[in-house]
């Protein structure tokens, strides 16, 4: 049995707003194991990004327990346990590609920055683009730089918040394939937020289906698809079966609103 990386027990988070409290997360229970590729899927407002941000210590839970590598999220953040990829690439426009990837290395004072930058840019197939400025790259390339940046200091855990949400479907397919290869090669644990069913089913070993108001988990699906899958697996019956179950879950979560 693999080691537990993330464990949440009865995790709740309530935002106090001016008129009424918003129940962003309600009694969330979740286990992520080492080497997992876990996707959070759900409509907007279901708390999937909030849950990721709680894991990253960018938000603090109101009640319940959560551990990351057996530590509190804050301790894990201070121990630089994870790399975070945001919805937008968030590259610093005044830094060239290589210096963007080197940013965490500078801040953490890590050795061998040049070698790490080269290795991680190769990992996202961007060797040769070191001296370009972000505006000279396409959106997909920029997001790959931000993945290389998140991996630069070699964290065991990669947290990704709808990283391909702003990209067109063709680029997205390609990046999904590349991400899967990267995951297989680096053996990282990945937590991935998305609102695309095919993306979630294609990438994940475990799909967490979430529902809004209050944000909660309504289904957890172990996909059991082979690790070295290709894009055409999306036509396979077992793929469609999982996608169907995800869709049913999302529908159920929606049934008593509006």
């Amino acid at each position: 049995m693999a080691a537990t990386v993330i464990e949440a027990k009865d995790l709740s988070l309530t935002f106090q707003t001016a008129d009424s409290p918003v129940y962003a997360l309600s009694k969330v229970n979740l286990t992520v194991e080492d080497g997992d590729f876990v996707s959070f899927i759900g409509p907007s407002g279901c708390g999937k990004t909030t849950l990721l941000r709680v894991i990253a210590d960018l938000e603090q839970a109101t009640s319940g327990l959560i551990t990351v590598n057996g530590m509190t999220p804050q301790q894990a953040r201070l121990a630089r346990a994870y790399g975070y990829v945001f919805q937008a690439p968030g590259l610093l426009p005044w830094r060239t590609v290589d210096r963007n990837v080197a940013l965490p290395l500078e801040i953490m004072g890590l050795e061998g920055a040049a070698e790490r930058v080269r290795r991680n840019l190769d990992l996202v197939n961007l060797g040769g683009f070191e001296k370009k400025f972000p505006w000279q790259l396409s959106g997909g390339m920029q997001q790959r730089v931000s993945i290389a940046r998140a991996l630069a200091f070699d964290p065991k855990l990669l947290l990704m918040d709808e990283p391909f949400g702003a990209l067109d479907e063709i680029v997205r397919d390609k990046l999904n394939q590349q991400l899967l290869e990267l995951w297989a090669r680096t053996k990282k644990t990945v937590v991935f937020v998305t609102h695309s069913i095919p993306e979630a089913v294609f990438l994940s070993t475990k799909i967490v289906v979430m529902s809004p108001r209050p944000g909660r988990i309504i289904d957890v699906i172990e996909t059991g698809l082979p690790r070295d899958r290709m894009l055409d697996i999306r036509e396979a019956p077992e793929f469609l079966k999982i996608a169907h179950r995800v869709r049913e879950g999302l529908k159920a979560g929606h049934s008593y609103e509006d």
Partner: protein, 289 residues
């Protein structure tokens, strides 16, 4: 070149202004030129000649200012007291010192303000109040107080420039230092970056475009500050002194010469800041427009 299309309209406007100026000289200088026109026997030629060439005109004609500038800039060695360049240098040196001090103070205050809500609340009202006091009211006090402490010459004038020009820098830099996206701040947080690392690697580089916008305003008002600082001292050198001496003695040509010198200096300084801006932003990889 993009500017070539603008040459003709710009020249046309200049020409119109010159014509209006020459025509306006005739009625405006009538007071001082009347007697001479009459003595010369009247008529159009005498009127034009006397209105446009009076030694102490109310409004000098453009060519008179050109001659005045030639005489005071090129015809005299620049280290002589009668040289306009000498006076320009006196004002410029205090402008530049005041600018450097003001920008340093402005950036320092902005850094304090963005890092502390309490300091922001404590400082902002004073910073804004400081700019509501007319500089003409406070300049003599600064000069007199510092003079009684034995500080004269360059420094008191520079302090007046500093007093004026820190303000746009503070306002611009507060905005600039707060300009990074939420994503960038969250990113630095995931790295557990310290406040000083966030400042050096994120806030300061992000604020550079805002800084330059402020610097263009700051350099121009630093010059104004230096000139104003030269007025209450009865200073004997500097552009302000030329304005003062000119107005005491009715030497309108001297005043106009000093005005032109001040505008040329202001234009050059603002251009220099703009040039530095373009160079810096290019080096920082800003997408060419």
């Amino acid at each position: 070149m993009k500017t070539s299309g603008a040459t003709i309209p710009v020249l046309t406007i200049c020409l119109i202004l010159l014509v209006v100026w020459y025509i306006a000289c005739i009625p405006l200088n009538a007071v001082v030129a009347e007697a001479k026109i009459a003595a010369a026997g009247g008529g159009l030629a005498a009127t034009l000649n006397e209105s446009w060439n009076h030694a102490r005109p109310v409004i000098p004609a453009p060519h008179q200012i050109v001659v005045e500038l030639w005489n005071t800039v090129f015809a005299i060695a620049p280290w002589k007291v009668k040289s306009l360049l000498y006076h320009c240098w006196v004002t410029l040196s205090s402008t530049l010192l005041g600018f450097v001090l003001g920008v340093a103070l402005g950036i320092f205050l902005a850094i304090l303000i963005v890092h502390s809500k309490i300091l922001s609340k404590a400082l902002m009202p004073w910073i804004i109040a400081s700019q509501t006091i007319p500089i003409l009211a406070i300049a003599p006090m600064i000069i007199v107080v510092l003079g009684s402490l034995g500080l004269t010459g360059l420094l008191p004038k520079s302090l007046i420039s500093m007093y004026l020009c820190f303000f746009p820098v503070t306002i611009g830099m507060v905005k600039g230092l707060n300009s990074p996206d939420i994503i960038h701040r969250d990113l630095m947080r995931t790295y557990n970056a310290s406040a000083s690392e966030v400042l050096w690697k994120l806030r300061l580089p992000a604020s550079v475009p805002y800084l330059f916008a402020s610097l263009k305003i700051a350099i121009a008002i630093a010059l104004t500050g230096a000139i104003v600082g030269e007025l209450p001292t009865g200073a004997i050198s500097g552009i302000g002194a030329r304005l003062l001496v000119g107005s005491y003695n009715g030497l309108t040509l001297m005043i106009w010469g000093a005005l032109v010198a001040a505008s040329v200096m202001a234009a050059l300084l603002v251009w220099l800041v703009g040039y530095a801006e373009r160079r810096t932003l290019t080096r920082m990889g800003v997408k060419p427009a």
